[in-house]
């Protein structure tokens, strides 16, 4: 076993984790920043294509209270308002900070350029051209990170459990994938910044490492999850023709800049049939667009691959090139010429509104255990506005890092306990009954993704959800209580098993919350319970009690101050 020790342990090195590490080090703490793959390469941040919503007032007058009003409206009454407020109020600080670090936000006429995104009342979203927001942010954050000696960066370590002793978080345990050694990480405070759960779905826009790790870690540590039924589908994820070397959510920036027409198989624009007229501007919110595409496909008016057409054929070639320069060449390599053909798009799992329940200091109900970024639930309620995800990562990361640092400094020792850690390490030391796994672990992951896509997508019924629940329970039995045997170095089946352990628990949380919410709201649409009901203006909260998931309900946290 390899032992490590720090003041603040940060799990996950996307935007939230890096901001947390920087903030904690700035406040004088020794930090360990851990990632299951490489530092600053995985997660969702690097995949972000364009927009970061923030009330800077550079493009037109704005105030964070207007941003908050839009966020709360999109959240359909379920936002934890103090979290939403923090996101909107502190967003400008973090964006200016990144600007000072030379991230390269797009500029025009001497000011930062801000785009109008669906659901926002004005032009509010900054970005880096061309489709480069995520890579530029990741590169900039890594450069800052590398300058700070108080932060130790460690990749290839999969955290498998938070260690809790006498009710408080005291560190974590995990597996070093390269050597196969177990790792014990003692810390005075711990921050979960592992992102969302998009990997639970067959078609998704996230990274491979976003299988809901942090949600499972939090549950097993005794923390609560909130709003787990609200999985956001990105309506126009790329579907066909096959495109590689590009992100499937790249069409959104195209629509911000160039409009683009969403068409059914009959060549008709259809989105206005579902309650929102699409004019020249791109204003269709994500939940409505997802619904419209599903319904067209269901009515037999889908594209050949089972989605809708997105056409830019009416846009002159010079305009395409001006707006997206080098991207047009990458499309050409994939055989896609937008002046001659539409592409096919369909909803794709993109983001999770739900997550770890925290207070406005980002702390869970387990003392010394914090969460940040997409791992946190509540700020976006039942539906997230475009552009709020990166803002959330930066703002919550910084806040969690700074509060966790203050906590660490207030504690004399971590309270680490070897027995508590050993209990958590049992699963890694266990070698089952010595047999090879009787199943293909990778195929089981794929089966789980298909199950979630087919039965727990954006449109749900009790019948489908119950089928999903039964199969999840079977799969849980199939994987048993310990990982399969195998080699030490980068053992993929062991990794799959540990992922399945988390993914099944998290999938179960989503399904349970979805079964219980007997209405339709935002990203959770029940075909057997259409319509949003005032009595359901409630958050559902999940926790583990003696190994079983339990659910309670609570009124959404009220705003600290009324929004305009």
């Amino acid at each position: 076993m390899i032992r490590l020790e720090s003041d603040v342990l940060v799990i996950g090195s996307g935007g939230a984790g890096i901001f947390a590490a920087i903030a904690a080090a700035r406040d004088g703490c020794r930090v360990q920043l851990i990632d299951r793959s490489l530092i600053g390469r995985g997660g969702a941040t690097v995949m972000a294509q364009m927009t970061v919503a923030v009330a800077l007032g550079e493009q037109c007058p704005d105030h964070w209270e207007y941003h908050l009003a839009d966020t709360l409206k999109a959240g359909r009454g379920l936002c934890s308002a103090p979290l939403s407020q923090l996101l909107c109020e502190n967003g400008p600080l973090r964006i200016r900070e990144l600007d000072a670090w030379k991230v390269g936000w797009a500029r025009e006429d001497g000011h930062l350029k801000q785009a109008l995104a669906p659901g926002h009342d004005r032009a509010r979203c900054v970005y880096v051209d061309f489709l480069n927001t995520g890579p530029a942010v990741s590169r900039t954050l890594r450069a800052q990170l590398n300058r700070i000696p108080a932060i130790r960066r460690i990749g290839d370590v999969l955290i498998t459990d938070i260690v809790v002793h006498e009710g408080e978080a005291v560190g974590a345990v995990g597996l070093h994938l390269v050597s196969g050694e177990t790792v014990a990480l003692e810390a005075k405070s711990v921050i979960i910044a592992t992102g969302g759960l998009t990997r639970l779905y067959r078609r998704n826009s996230g990274s491979q490492n976003m299988g809901g790790d942090g949600y499972a870690l939090a549950l097993r540590a005794g923390a609560e999850l909130i709003d787990m039924e609200f999985v956001q589908f990105f309506p126009i994820g790329h579907l066909a023709p096959r495109m590689i070397g590009m992100d499937p959510i790249m069409w959104d920036p195209f629509r911000y800049k160039l409009g683009g027409r969403l068409l059914n198989a009959e060549g008709e624009e259809f989105a206005d049939r579902y309650g929102q007229a699409e004019s020249g501007d791109y204003v269709l919110t994500r939940d409505v667009a997802t619904y419209a595409i599903f319904k067209e496909v269901e009515a037999g008016r889908g594209s050949p691959a089972g989605g809708a057409y997105l056409s830019f054929q009416h846009v002159p070639e010079a305009d395409l090139r001006h707006a997206f320069g080098p991207v047009i060449d990458r499309l050409a390599k994939n055989g896609i010429d937008l002046t001659k053909m539409p592409v096919e798009v369909a909803p794709i799992a993109h983001y999770h509104m739900g997550g770890v329940r925290v207070n406005a200091s980002m702390e869970t109900r387990v003392p010394n255990l914090f969460a940040a970024g997409e791992a946190v639930g509540g700020a976006n309620g039942a539906n997230r506005l475009s552009g709020n995800a990166l803002t959330e990562a930066f703002v919550f990361g910084e806040r969690a890092g700074s509060v966790a640092a203050a906590r660490a400094k207030s504690r004399v020792a971590s309270g680490w306990n070897d027995q508590a850690a050993m209990r958590d390490l049992d699963i890694l030391e266990a070698r089952g009954n010595g047999a090879e796994a009787p199943y293909n672990t990778a195929a089981l992951v794929v089966e789980l993704q298909a199950l979630m896509a087919d039965k727990v997508g954006p449109f749900r019924t009790e019948t489908k959800l119950l089928e999903a629940l039964r199969r999840l329970e079977q799969m849980q039995r199939e994987i048993g209580a310990a990982p399969p045997r195998g080699g030490k170095h980068y053992n993929m089946m062991r990794l799959d098993w540990l992922d399945l352990r988390n993914m099944l628990l998290v999938a179960h949380s989503v399904v349970l919350a979805a079964i219980e919410r007997k209405e339709s709201r935002g990203a959770h649409q029940r075909e057997d319970y259409p319509g949003m009901l005032p009595e359901w203006e409630l958050n559902q909260v999940l926790s583990l009690r003696e190994g079983k998931l339990g659910l309670t309900r609570a009124r959404p946290a009220a705003p600290a101050k009324a929004a305009r």
């Binding site: 690097v46 890579p135 070093h176 055989g335 293909n440 990778a442 980068y490 053992n491």
Partner: protein, 111 residues
């Protein structure tokens, strides 16, 4: 669209005794080498080790390998009919199969 077959000869094992195993992968035009590797894991051999994070978006840059002696990203190379030879990066320490130590030295647990 008719399926084509790529024959992937992949270097397996750790630095002790590497060997080559051959897998036949059916594919449709446009599929990436990474698609092929993932398909081998789910349909034939779940022990095959390779790195990737972002799934064909070429954002994470983790899937670097050698294909027919040339350094490539598995996610931006396409499968083609016939023989393809896959090996780990020759200038990095071998961990297992196609996985090498690609992290900067100061970002490793055991430097």
């Amino acid at each position: 669209m008719s399926k084509q077959i790529a024959r992937l000869h992949i270097q397996r094992g750790d630095s002790g005794a590497p060997r080559v195993e051959t897998y036949e992968v059916a594919f449709e035009p446009g599929n990436s080498v990474l698609d092929g590797l993932r398909r081998i894991r789910t349909a034939q051999d779940p022990t095959l080790a390779f790195r990737f994070s972002c799934i064909n978006a070429n954002a994470c840059k983790e899937c670097m390998i050698e294909l027919d002696g040339k350094v490539v990203y598995a996610c931006t190379e396409r499968l083609r009919e016939g023989d393809m030879h896959l090996a780990p990066l020759a200038n990095k320490a071998l961990v297992q199969d196609l996985v090498t130590e690609i992290a900067p030295r100061d970002e490793r647990l055991l430097p």
